[in-house]
Symmetry: C2
Subunit: 159 residues, 2 copies
């Protein structure tokens, strides 16, 4: 069975590599407004973390928690947030999603309802898309981006 | 069961919207060398088509067909190539991939072997990543990019 979990593990691995990559930049470069995408390099990482968590809470019918970038405006704070929320995500992704994937979900920030299956695809794609944007900004800063290939990676966070 | 096919359908739908989007640009803008990603907007679309097809042929143990951008250097030619190859891809993706997904494959352009499951994830992610790059270039050209959300779309190419 094709497993959506592998996409999450891929995204987390790549995201952690971008967090490491960010260490070479000054704080001003991380939050500098850029063309395209969402605001800045650091805001992109914050946004990815925030969106993933909100949807997964939505799937679980838990109340949405709103994070404000003003509270997470350093690399360390965004990385810590990502690490903390990931624990809850791993816990959820270990459960048997197969049984619930055709359930429909309504979240407070969207007028439509979506199947859990659809939402999981959406979350995965959302992060990969934004990471592609980081890769261009990276070259604009004359830096090599994180290598994004899926093949050749090992994943073992979610059994 | 989470279906990898939905990711392919998503990618094709988005790609076709980028082909339409490209019509507003002059040929020189389509092939102008840009920072990051692969060369140009048109080369990115050609590259996505080429890589997807090569891997799917590899999975089927068919001989690799090498395409040269010099033969596909206009929007119309790349779109036609994409349409033509898609027929073969749909045919393959309609087959029961589940039965073969743990088979290992060796392709001529890579020294390692990979499972079919791994290759399918790789193809899907490869395109989404490059589309993210196009979205930044689009804003650099002061144009709105194609909207990339997965949720809210309908897919029906692959039963």
């Amino acid at each position: 069975m094709i497993k959506i979990k592998k996409f999450f593990e891929y995204n987390w691995q790549i995201r952690d590599e971008w967090f490491k990559w960010c260490k070479q930049l000054a704080p001003e470069a991380l939050t500098e407004k850029r063309v395209g995408g969402v605001e800045s390099i650091l805001f992109t990482l914050f946004h990815i973390v925030d969106v993933e968590y909100s949807w997964i809470r939505g799937i679980q019918k838990k109340e949405d928690i709103v994070f404000h970038f003003s509270d997470y405006d350093t690399l360390e704070k965004v990385k810590t947030l990502s690490d903390e929320l990931r624990k809850e995500l791993i816990h959820f992704l270990k459960t048997d999603i197969e049984n619930i994937k055709d359930h429909f979900i309504k979240v407070p920030w969207d007028k439509d309802t979506y199947s859990i299956d659809e939402i999981l695809h959406h979350i995965v794609i959302h992060e990969i898309h934004h990471i592609g944007q980081l890769s261009v900004w990276s070259r604009e800063l004359h830096l090599a981006p994180v290598q994004a290939n899926f093949i050749g990676r090992q994943f073992n966070l979610i059994p």
